[in-house]
Structures are given as C-alpha cells and as structure tokens.
Symmetry: C2
Subunit: 479 residues, 2 copies
C-alpha cells in the first residue's frame, strides 16, 4: 500500500471537515453561544493537521484498489475523531469514548445517542450533531453511488448507474456525480424544512429534523423526538420524507428532471414500497386490536415507525418497545432490511433482499428442472453469477458480524433482546433498538467497551462491512 496517497486524501478530507465547521460557528454567532469557541479551536486544529498531511504527501499518482479501501475506512474514523473534539471542548461529555460514539453516530447517520437530555445542550452543539448527519449522508450517497462500485466491483449491484456524464478516471467522475446529487439532496432538505415550518415547527427544529430525515440520521433537538411537537401533520410529513429518504437518490434526480417513467419501472422501489405498505398494514391491525382503541391512531403510529425503521432514520413518536411481540418482531426484521441502494439508509438493502429471494427460488427451480438454463434478472438487467454470489456472501458476512457482536455484548450481561437489537440498530445505522436501548432510552448505561464495539459496528454497517474487512485483512494478504 502506498501510504502517501492514503494520507494525502485523508488530509484533504480533514480540511473539508474543518472548513465545514464554519457553519456551526455561524450558528453560535447567531445565538450568541460560547460553544462557538470550541468549534473555532477545533476548526483551526483540524485544518492545520489536514494541511500538514496533504502538503507532506503531494503526488499525482492514481489511487488503486487497496488504497481506496484504506481511504474510505480511515476517512470515516478520522472525521469521527476530529468531530468528537468540539463535544469535549464544550464539556458535553467527560470521556472521549462517549464523544467519539456520538460523533461516529453522527457521521454514519446512525443517530444512536449517549446524551440523556437534549434540552440541556446549546443550539450550536445540537446543530453540529445534525450537521454531521447531513454531511455524512451526502458522503454516503457519493460513496455508494460513485466510489464503492469502482472499488468493489461485484460486491455492489449497481455500477455506473450514477446520473451525469461518465468519465473513465475515478476522480472527475466522483466530482460530477457529487455535484448533481448534492443539488438533489439540497432540494429535498429545503422542501421538507419549508413544509415543517409551514406546520408550526420552529425554524431551527425544522432544519434539525430535515437534516436528520434526508440523511436517515435521526438525531432530534428534543429528548421526546418528534413526539415533542404533538402534531399529526408533522408526523406524516416526517413519515413521507423518511420513506423518500430510503429511496435511491438517482430516482429523485430522475423525478426532478421529469423522467417519471423510469421511476415506475424500478423493481427495487416497487419491492421497497410493498414491504413498507405490508408492514404498516400488519402493525396497524396488530396495534388496533391489542394496544390502541382507534384505527387512525394505530395507523399513525404504524406508518411513522415503519418508515422510520426501514429508512433507518430512527425517529420515534412512541415507545414501540411496549408494543406486542408481533409488531416488535416486524420492526426488528425491518432493521435488517433497510432502505434502497443509493440512499442514505443502512441495513442489508432492499435490492439485495430482492436478489436473494429471486436467487433462492431459482435454486429450487433448478432442483426440479436440473437441465433448465436459468439466469437471474432484475428488471431488464441480467445479474451475473459473480454478482449474485457476492450478494449471498455479503448476506452471510452481515449475519456473522451480527452474531459475533451480539455474543460479545451478552458477555457483558446485557440481555439477549437488547444485545440483538443494539447490534441490529448500529450495524444497520438505525439508532434506537429494543429493551435497554429502546426509543425512550439511550446508549448511556452500556459499558465503555460495548460503546467502542457498537461504534465499530456503525462504521462497519455504513461501509457495507466488506470495505472495512478488506482494509483490516489486506495486511495479511500482501502479495
């Protein structure tokens, strides 16, 4: 591995994150809050380190596979470390692990928190948490649509599907794609903010919740999350935008450019919609008969919570942990499925589940008709044997990481359901889980080691697992 190239790109990334801290500084100025100082200091520090790194390692060489994996993995870790500094300087936490956990949770758009009362925080800090979500969400889109397909080949189902002109070399292509998607991302955020403000959410809160929705992050400015506003209209606006946040951003681009037909032809969107509708119907029925007296109330809660969990946003309007096992079970399954590829959502992703199901039926078909020639198709596109094997491999890796992490959590005496859902909620970048870490609780009571493990799970999940594993293993497999 040519460390020079890796450090050069990490340096550039740090400069970018440092500069982005200007925004919370403006927020601090507007609200006249001292926490702005923490950001001025961190900004100076981050940019300096970034410049030193990138200056010392200037080169014109092209990046190669192995370095790509290293940059992506180390990049998320680096920005999370520097993003944690303002929390420490502003005195939000008394130990760095908590600050790091909150920062990783922000940038990976997980939204798991170790802060008990959000109302005690300054606007600046609240904004920083959501700003990390928003930047992280954009980073994920660019990464999953432009970078990972180049790096990972068959591990990614979608290759060269990004809108905008296609270049041969990696860098210019990423830049073009990023620009286009940035605009789409901005448009959706703005529309949601306007709608929320129109329905009596304060402007600051509307920004926070719009950032948390499109990025599928889920950090709120209120301890009670969206329930604090006690407005059915706000809850439905959130639900619709959470649903949209789970959709491939290139489809939003096509919608905005008037290409409606391609949206209706998208198999993943169809399947995603099917899952969402089925889950809402099932949970509504279950809630209506076993928990609430009114059908409307049951539907409201079900629609909000289903879109919140499958889009992996993780906002809450109710303590769904007291719902019957059936509803909790379905939510737990949605945690694993996640949103569509090319969205900010985490989880295994709808397209992979869809491909796996088709593949499963195909294998059965082959048993009855051993001489039949079959090929896996999604929509009009044929999925090569290599890609489908990779998806199956991904699924297996996901399960293995999930099982091992859960066992480690239980070794700290955390009960089975809390352990299972904590790993599902961090690996899937959802945020809240069940039991000990239910929607009304935080990750505060967990031991330090568990917080580090779950931080690692957030990064693993965000980087589709294999990116991190390849980076970790590439040392062993040097040629």
């Amino acid at each position: 591995m040519r460390l020079k190239i890796v450090f050069n790109m990490l340096g550039t990334l740090l400069i970018f994150i440092g500069v982005s801290m200007l925004v919370p500084i403006f927020v601090a100025l507007y609200y006249k809050e001292v926490d702005g100082v923490a950001f001025i200091v961190t900004m100076g520090f981050t940019i300096s380190i970034g410049r030193i790194l990138s200056r010392a390692t200037e080169s014109n060489e092209e990046i190669r596979h192995r370095e790509g994996f290293a940059v992506v993995t180390l990049g998320w870790i680096a920005i999370s470390i520097f993003g944690a500094i303002p929390f420490m300087l502003a005195g939000v936490f008394d130990n760095f692990v908590d600050a790091f956990f909150e920062s990783v949770s922000g940038f990976t758009t997980t939204g798991a928190t170790v802060i008990m009362s959000l109302e005690s925080l300054s606007h600046t800090i609240l904004f920083w948490r959501s700003w990390m979500h928003w930047l992280g969400g954009m980073g994920i889109i660019v990464m999953s649509i432009a970078i990972l397909p180049e790096l990972a080949g068959s591990m990614q189902l979608f290759k060269a599907e990004a809108p905008g002109p296609v270049h041969d070399r990696l860098k210019p292509r990423i830049r073009e794609t990023a620009k286009t998607l940035w605009v789409v991302y901005l448009v959706i955020t703005s529309v949601q903010t306007i709608l929320l403000v129109m329905n009596d959410m304060p402007f600051f809160d509307a920004i926070i919740h719009s950032f948390g929705t499109i990025s599928s992050g889920g950090f709120s400015s209120r301890t009670l999350s969206v329930k604090a506003y006690n407005s059915t209209v706000i809850e439905w606006i959130m639900a619709v935008f959470m649903f949209l946040a789970g959709v491939n951003l290139t489809l939003h681009y096509q919608f905005l450019t008037g290409n409606i037909r391609s949206i209706f032809k998208d198999k993943e969107l169809k399947f995603y919609t099917c899952i969402v509708v089925s889950a809402i119907v099932l949970i509504t029925i279950n809630l209506r008969f076993q928990v609430y007296r009114s059908l409307a109330e049951s539907l409201n809660y079900a629609a909000f919570q289903v879109t919140s969990i499958i889009s992996t946003a993780g906002f809450a309007t109710v303590d769904y942990d007291i719902w019957p096992p059936f509803s909790r079970g379905i939510l737990l399954i949605l945690m694993f499925i996640g949103g569509c590829a090319g969205s900010t959502a985490g989880g295994i992703k709808v397209i992979r589940i869809y491909a796996l199901m088709k593949k499963g039926f195909q294998e059965l078909y082959k048993l009855i008709h051993p001489r039949a020639v079959t090929s896996l198709k999604i929509g009009n596109r044929a999925v090569s044997e290599e890609v489908s094997t990779s998806i199956l491999g991904f699924f297996f890796l996901y399960v293995i990481v999930f099982v091992i992490s859960t066992v480690i959590l239980t070794s700290f005496g955390i009960d089975l359901i809390s352990s299972i859902s904590a790993v599902a909620a961090t690996l899937g970048n959802i945020g809240p889980g069940l039991g000990l870490i239910g929607p009304l609780n935080t990750y505060v009571p967990l031991p330090i080691v568990c917080k580090l493990l779950l931080s690692f799970c957030m990064i693993l999940g965000r980087l589709e697992i294999y990116t991190v594993l390849v980076f970790l293993l590439s040392g062993f497999w040097r040629k």
Copy 2:
C-alpha cells in the same frame, strides 16, 4: 408427476412402519400393559393401508427427481400420521394435533414434547416415542447419505461418499448403504446401552436414552431428563455419545474398519470439535464466574449442554434458561449450527458453516486481488461454484423460513425470545428452546395453530428445507 410410483413407495414405507410396531407390542407383552392393544390395532390398520397402496400401484418404472421429492416429503408426513394413532388409542392425548406433534417430533428426532409428566406413561408408550427416534434417525442417515445427494445434486455437499459398493441405479445403492450403516448405528447404540447399564441406569431407561442419543432425538423416560439419575458419570457418557452422534456416520464406519487416518484428515470433524471445545470453554468460564461456585460443576453442565445442543439431541441436566445471556446466546447460536452432515443431527450443519466462512474470506480476498484466480477447497476436494452458491442459497432459505415462522409465532402473542428459540429448536430438530419452551417446560401451552406450524418446521428442517419447498412448488412449475 407419476403418482403411481409415489404411492407405491409410500405403501412400502407404511408396511415397514406397521411391521416395526411389533417391537412395542413385545414391550407391552413383557410389561403386561394394555397399551399393546393400541399397537396391535394400529399395526393391522397401517399394514393394510400400506398393502392396498402398494398393490394398487405396482410398477417397474424408475423413480425420477420430482417423484423423489414427493416420496421423501409425503413419506415423513405419512409415517407421522400413522405413528400418532397409538397415542390416540392409548388415550395419551385428547386431540389429534398433539398426537401428531409428538409423532412428528419422534420421527424427525426433534424431541419436542407436549406431554407434561412422562412418569404417567406406560413403558409401551415411552418405548414407542424412542423407537420412533431410532427408526427416524436411521431414516435420516440413509436419506442424507444415499437419497438426497442423488435427488438434489449441488444442494448436497457430499455425493457418492457413502461406504460400500457403488451401484449406478438408485435402489440397490440405497439398500447396500443402508445395510452397512444400520450395523454401525446398531453397534454405537449397543455400546452406549451397555455403558449406561454398567453405571446403574435401569436397562429400560438405558435403551431409551441410547435410542435418543444416537438419533439425536432427546426423548427421555423421565420428566427431569438425564438429571433424574443424578450421576456425573452417566452425564459424561451421554455427553460423549451426543458428541459422537453429531459426527458423520461414515466416519464411525471408517473408525470401526480401522481406517483411523481418514478421521484425522476430516475437516468437518476438526471444525466441529473446535466449535464444541470453544463453546464448552466459554460457557464454563461464564458459569464459573456468574452462576456456580465450582469449576467442575460449571464444566459438567457446560459440556453436557453444549454437546446436547450442537448434536441437536436436546437432553437437559439443568434449566439453562436461567444462565446469563452470554451462555444462552452461545447455545442459541449452536442451535443454528447443528452437527456434521451425514449424522442424525439437524441444524444448518457444520460443513455448510465451514464452506460459507471460507467463501466469505475468499470474496474479501478477491476484492483486494481482483485478478487472482481462486477456488474453494475443503480438504483436498475442490468445491464447485455451483455447490458453493447452493450452500449460500440454503443458508438464505434457512434464514427466511426462520424469520417468517418466528413472525407468525409472535402474532399469537408469544414473546420474542420464546418465538425465536421455538423456531430454532424445531427447524434445527433440537427440541427444547429458551423462555416459554425452555428445558423444564413443554410445548403444551402453545395454541393449536402454532403446534401445527412447528410440526411443519420440524419436517422442513429434517428434510433440509429445499426438499419440502421443491415438493410444494413443483405444482406451480410444471413444464
């Protein structure tokens, strides 16, 4: 599908099961119990139906794929239905679903019971439950070593590995293999019975527990299971034989014929031993520090329970449901792994887990070295791309069936951990689970529909899932 051939083979199977009822009749004669009458009546009925079926459908045609799947699936269902009749005639149950559940549980060697107090049963009925285990276990061995590889091709990792002369046509080959394995099976059962009797277990109980061990069934003659004998020596004999029951029976054959070298070269056995030893060590440590005061006591319980769960026998010496989450979590994982291929054990099987892990690492390796030519090897044998895709497909099917069944159980208000473990315990043919169906409990409190669903899970698990699914789907996919 040529139903004639299917019914012909089902008829033969029923005659065989009918004749096998002579053995419980002898038991009834020896103990002078009236329950023998139930078996005389059922035997006459079963043999008559069997003869009518096979006489009416005589033919010399060769069996084909599709009929093979039908015979295997319908065969297990048919013998379970006829096996349930004596329970009804003897008045053990007051509804047929319970009797069917107990019978399926017997023949699939699951060992899940809906009987509260075993001490209230006659010797004849107790013997019949274990006799179903023993016959079922032998059926599983023959099926998994001789029949399924022929039917399923790449879904099965081991093909033509059975000892004895190899024939081209299916029938004579199955007969030869069955004969050889029958002897091995009988030898192991006898050795265990002798050892148990030598250590003061009553002869009848020794037979029951030996039948339940080699078949990995787990039905006991005592409500307290093996704990009733309060003997550490007996517990260790059981543990060792449960471990052995999880090993490929062809390896036992090789051991008995003096071919020791091939045993040490077997990768699956190595990996199986590794898992067992690791699990025992981890649980012993966990128990020593959190539950029991003595290391020996912790080790005894850990060794017994680990071998019991991974071999999917499901005997118990302790209520492991009160153990800490870590130990319970590990047992839950072992439920999914199961024993080696070619044994009576259920679960996903060690060889599949091993192949999946190798495949997972290979996929990661390919990401770093995209141009490297890799091939999956287990021991000296190369595993074709087709086989490895099939294993991945099997894993995915297993997870899907598991998830859907669990959701259905939760819809009856059964808590998550009980639902999860009930499905794991029946799909993996283990028997006891956690929570509501823990080792000290029975499946009695579950609603009728859940009992039927779990009966279906036992058959699905026993027939490696795809056999049943192919049978169910073959109607849709007629050419």
